[in-house]
């Protein structure tokens, strides 16, 4: 079982978590053309490389972010969502 380190609960088996997929760019729905909107809905980040994605620690319902390599499955780091806002 892979380990995922929850920023709040520490390292846990990954079956305690639920993946919510890669973080997506925020779009203003009204200022977005139809084609870009459908692209936003259906195209997900899937490049070979590192993605930033949302995870939920199910027992504590804590949501956080992880940087993970989609090829090696290595988790580079995990962090609280507040840091994402700081980065943005």
């Amino acid at each position: 079982m892979k380990l995922l380190t929850c920023p709040m609960n520490g390292p846990r088996n990954i079956d305690e978590f639920q993946s919510f997929g890669p973080v997506r760019a925020k779009l203003d729905p009204d200022g977005t053309a139809d084609t870009d909107w459908s692209r936003h809905l259906f195209r997900a980040e899937n490049r070979k490389g590192i993605v930033v994605e949302w995870w939920r620690h199910v027992p504590s319902n804590y949501f956080f972010l992880a940087e993970r390599d989609l090829v090696s499955n290595e988790i580079i780091r995990t962090f609280d969502a507040s840091e994402l806002r700081d980065l943005a």
């Binding site: 380990l3 925020k26 949302w54 939920r56 319902n61 969502a81």
Partner: protein, 951 residues
């Protein structure tokens, strides 16, 4: 009897004889014997028939890894005879025989071998008809394929799982593993040492070593309380982040280790020559195991093929066991004669250098070895031990990211691991001598300890002794074949060569075309030889060819141990025992138990009808506790719901209840419920039973992005819900002691009240899934029984009846209320449901808004409508029956049922958007294929003006 006296036979207890049968014949062994050793002790050497040619096969390795020694137990196919202990009365039989092991009618296959070249099944069995394979050939092949027979009446066995955590896991308790485990534990680390054998020691337990070495290590081991030794425990795989399954009998230890030291040893390799598979030909280690572990003499007259010291030691062991060693053939040329050589010579054993076994011949029917050919001359013998070299046990290291290489200089298979938390020690890392193995274990421990933060003196890298090139046995391909490379799959040298000629030149293609390495031993004894044969056939180096990917498990493991024991999750509402007492027919809904109806199954239809009538004409009571219940609290609660649901909630007055419809980003309907505003900063929201887990998670997810000032609390279990519904609902509630005014004016439709009913604090909502006057009472679950009992008592004079899920479904269908997931699918929009009224046109944003606008522009193709069948209609289509237009499917029935209130069948269905108007007639295809025409009506079949729910 081929039994030897003590001290041979470390595993057996001669004072405890055990009786069992093999192929119906009685045998005796001792406690501690494996099936194979007990049979060998009684002179029964043939254990099985081979996969394809049905040749007699016997002990090869005594490690339990190959198909040769798989047997059938009454309730267990493919049991490893070399590992399975005998127990009193055990019935053992041979596998894959047509008739008996002794007289196998399919032995004729051995003569037809030339008609069955590699891959022959791809080139034939196709005709004469298109379905000849399915109807004729495959059944034959299927019967011939497979090994053991499954017992479909096998008694249930108990398996369980648990967890184990350690600083250092050492796999393999041979010299290297012992060295590693002791060093790590002496430094203070928490260590688990596991070994698949019943004792520690590995080669020290069966090889020709000073017993003092093992006892010395064992006493150091015992002094370490932080060292947990698990013998009889196989480490059967390596998974990400050092997660390893340790299997001990019927128990699976799911193990997390911070550091792992793999001291998995080496795998002795067989020699390839004509008839190299005869019973009586075994690896040197197998002979030593038989002698020392089981006190079994492996033969009477032996030839020893030895290209390393282990082979010489085996010869000496054979002599000690009273076996006459006729000759030792050493394929290595050169005159160097070590001490072992001299010792053997001293005991009168003839040693022939530069010679190898070229072929073997068997007794009639190839039941046992009769003679071997060396240097052109035949030597009679009943035992040939083979010690020509090893391959490191690559399975676990490769699963952990190790790469297999081949050093042409030393002709060794090598393994390199990336730097990290997995370390190799001993023979798997290429060590040869005992002292080197122990030291290699200690070095691995040092590396692990330093990664764990222990202050350890980093040992200077010892310059390894110059490694002697290993001798590699030439592969003696024979024109007559039967020079087996893979015993499991009956593959010979030419089979592999021929595969390359057909273009299957990559090792993985060779494997797939020939099935080499795909049998029970998973290439343990064939991978190296295969790589060499393919390399030679394709003009490449062994390194370029490589071996096929090592995948878990390391060795066969039962589905039972993997499955373990599992209780099925069940959830009960607080009113569970009341339903049971009322003789409810309970049905699972997700993990919940819910009353389907009340009464005997025989009277189901009648009971449901009565329950419906009670609600329509009197009053009914439904346990709605499985509904999702969420509390949204905080200053931004209204704003939060505005973004999540399609209706407006920020402006919803306190004390009001509003329908809520949830879309996903694609604009598809995913859930519905109601929201009751308890306070300016507090909403009580319901979600459907099946969707609440996802709705709750999605709410949290959205708020992780939005960061609004709200808290979401899932109250699904904390609160219970009772729906009191029917024209007499108000009368019932008004008789109860309460501070709530249930009158029409004080408590109108779509409002909510807090208060106390019968001493129970409640949240009451006036909503109407049934279309009748309804009060939904929610209360803390520990008080639900009190409330239920009070309502039941108050309702008794009014004929109140509890009703179940089936009645509830019909009641809602009569009102045309949709069920999410039944009347909707993954692409349903509010428009398709006719739910424009539930979608705010004013809000700037809600999830799915942008998409439903876009989808509306793109145009819709279907609409959910009501269908009403004429009273007495004969053929009523079932759920999912197709709605056709011009013969093409355009929609389907989503819900259908008989409405006792209307006296006819009604349905909800998707129809083509152009047929949506009331009065249109649509064609529905019944299950039996018949087409019926049905008129479209409005959703609300019953009481279309909704007068009843608002009284």
């Amino acid at each position: 009897m081929n039994r030897l006296p003590a001290p041979f036979g470390s595993r057996i207890d001669r004072s405890r004889p055990v009786h069992f049968t093999f192929e119906g014949k009685p045998f005796e062994g001792y406690e501690g014997d494996s099936i194979a050793s007990a049979l060998a002790g009684s002179g029964q050497w043939v254990l099985s028939r081979s996969f394809k040619y049905h040749r007699p096969r016997g002990i090869l390795s005594m490690t339990g890894a190959d198909a040769n020694a798989l047997v059938q137990l009454p309730s267990e196919p493919n049991a490893a005879a070399e590992r399975t202990p005998i127990v009193e009365g055990l019935r053992v039989s041979a596998q894959n025989v047509n008739g008996s092991l002794e007289r196998d009618r399919d032995a004729i296959m051995d003569r037809f071998g030339r008609f069955l070249p590699v891959g022959f099944y791809y080139r034939t069995f196709m005709g004469p008809r298109r379905d000849s394979w399915l109807k004729f050939w495959e059944p034959i092949i299927r019967r011939k394929a497979g090994l053991g027979v499954i017992d479909t009446k096998a008694p249930h066995r108990h398996f369980d799982k648990t967890h184990l955590h350690c600083d250092v896991l050492v796999v393999g308790a041979g010299p290297a593993g012992l060295g590693a485990a002791i060093a790590a534990a002496e430094a203070g680390a928490g260590v688990v040492l596991c070994d698949e054998n019943p004792e520690i020691g590995g080669a020290l337990s069966y090889g020709r070593y000073d017993p003092g070495i093992l006892s010395g290590l064992a006493s150091r081991l015992e002094a370490l309380p932080n060292l947990n030794v698990l013998t009889g425990t196989v480490c059967n795989g390596w998974y990400e982040d050092n997660w390893l399954p340790l299997i001990q009998g019927n128990r699976l230890y799911r193990t997390r280790a911070r550091e792992v030291i793999l001291a998995t040893g080496a795998i002795e390799q067989p020699a390839v020559f004509h008839n190299n598979d005869l019973p009586g030909i075994m690896l040197g280690g197998a002979a030593q195991r038989l002698i020392r572990h089981y006190g079994v003499r492996p033969g009477q007259g032996a030839v020893v093929l030895a290209a390393n010291d282990d082979g010489y030691r085996t010869a000496l062991d054979l002599l000690d066991a009273g076996v006459s060693v006729i000759e030792l053939a050493d394929p290595r040329s050169g005159d160097e004669a070590g001490p072992l050589h001299a010792e053997l010579r001293g005991k009168g054993v003839a040693i022939r250098k530069g010679a190898t076994v070229e072929a073997a011949e068997g007794t009639p029917g190839n039941r046992h070895l009769a003679s071997v050919r060396i240097g052109g001359s035949w030597i009679a013998c009943d035992l040939l031990t083979v010690s020509i070299g090893n391959a490191p046990a690559w399975q676990l290291p490769c699963q952990a990211g190790g790469k297999v290489g081949y050093e042409a200089g030393t002709q060794m298979m090598t393994i390199t691991l990336p730097k990290g938390s997995v370390h190799l020690a001993g023979a798997v890392a290429g060590t040869d001598e005992l002292e080197d193995a122990i030291a290699s274990g200690q070095r691995a421990a040092t590396a692990a300890l330093s990664r764990l933060g222990h202050a350890v003196a980093v040992e200077p890298l010892v310059t390894p002794k110059s490694v002697r090139p290993r001798y590699v046995q030439p592969i003696v391909a024979d024109p007559k074949g039967r020079d087996f490379v893979d015993f499991d799959e009956d593959l010979q040298v030419k089979d592999l060569q021929n595969a390359t000629k057909d273009g299957y030149r990559e090792i993985e293609l060779v494997k797939r075309f020939t099935t080499v390495g795909m049998g029970p031993s998973q290439g343990r004894h064939s991978a190296l030889a295969t790589a060499r044969i393919v390399a030679e056939a394709t003009g490449r180096s062994v390194g370029e060819i490589g071996i096929t990917t090592a995948r878990p498990p390391v060795g066969p493991e039962t589905l039972g141990v993997l499955a373990g024991h599992h209780e099925v999750l069940e959830r009960r509402t607080a009113l569970h025992t009341r339903h049971i007492a009322l003789k409810a027919e309970m049905k699972p809904v997700g993990s919940w138990w819910r009353p389907y109806f009340y009464g005997d199954a025989s009277g189901a239809e009648e009971a449901v009808r009565e329950e419906i009538l009670a609600v329509r004409e009197g009053v009914g009571l439904l346990d709605v506790s499985t509904l999702g219940k969420l509390e949204i609290r905080g200053p931004d609660a209204g704003e939060f719901l505005d973004r999540l649901y399609t209706m407006a909630h920020a402006n919803q007055p306190v004390g009001r209840v509003r329908y809520c419809l949830m879309l996903n980003e694609m604009g598809s309907v995913v859930d519905d419920g109601v929201a009751y505003r308890l306070a300016q900063d507090q909403f009580y929201v319901t979600a459907t039973t099946g969707a609440v887990a996802r709705v709750y998670a999605d709410m949290l997810f959205w708020n992780a992005e939005w960061r609004l000032k709200v808290d979401v609390l899932n109250l699904t279990g904390a609160f219970s819900g009772l729906n009191v519904t029917g024209p007499k609902a108000r009368q019932v509630l008004e008789t109860l002691d309460s501070d709530i005014d249930f009158s029409h004016d004080a408590f109108p439709y779509l409002s909510g009240r807090d208060g106390t009913v019968a001493g129970v604090p409640v949240r009451v909502m006036r909503i109407g899934f049934t279309g009748e006057l309804s009060y939904e009472l929610h209360c803390p679950s520990s008080l639900a029984l009190s409330l239920w009992d009070a309502v039941m008592a108050a309702g008794r004079p009014h004929g109140l009846r509890p009703y179940g899920l089936e009645a509830s479904r019909i009641l809602r269908l009569e009102k045309g209320h949709i069920l999410i997931g039944q009347d909707t699918d993954a692409i349903t929009t509010p428009d398709e449901l006719g739910f424009g009224w539930a979608v705010s046109k004013k809000k700037p944003f809600f999830v799915g808004k942008r998409s439903i606008e876009m989808r509306a522009r793109l145009g819709q193709t279907r609409k959910l409508v009501g269908l009403q069948f004429p009273a007495g209609a004969r053929n009523i289509p079932g759920e999912s029956c197709l709605v056709l237009r011009g013969g093409a499917p355009v929609g389907q029935i989503t819900s259908v049922g008989y409405s006792p209130s209307l006296g006819r069948h009604i349905a909800l269905a998707y129809v083509h958007v152009d047929d949506r108007a009331e009065g249109s007639r649509v064609t529905v295809k019944c299950r039996n294929g018949e087409l019926v025409e049905v008129p479209v009506v409005a959703h609300a079949f019953f009481d279309p003006s909704n007068a009843r729910q608002e009284i």
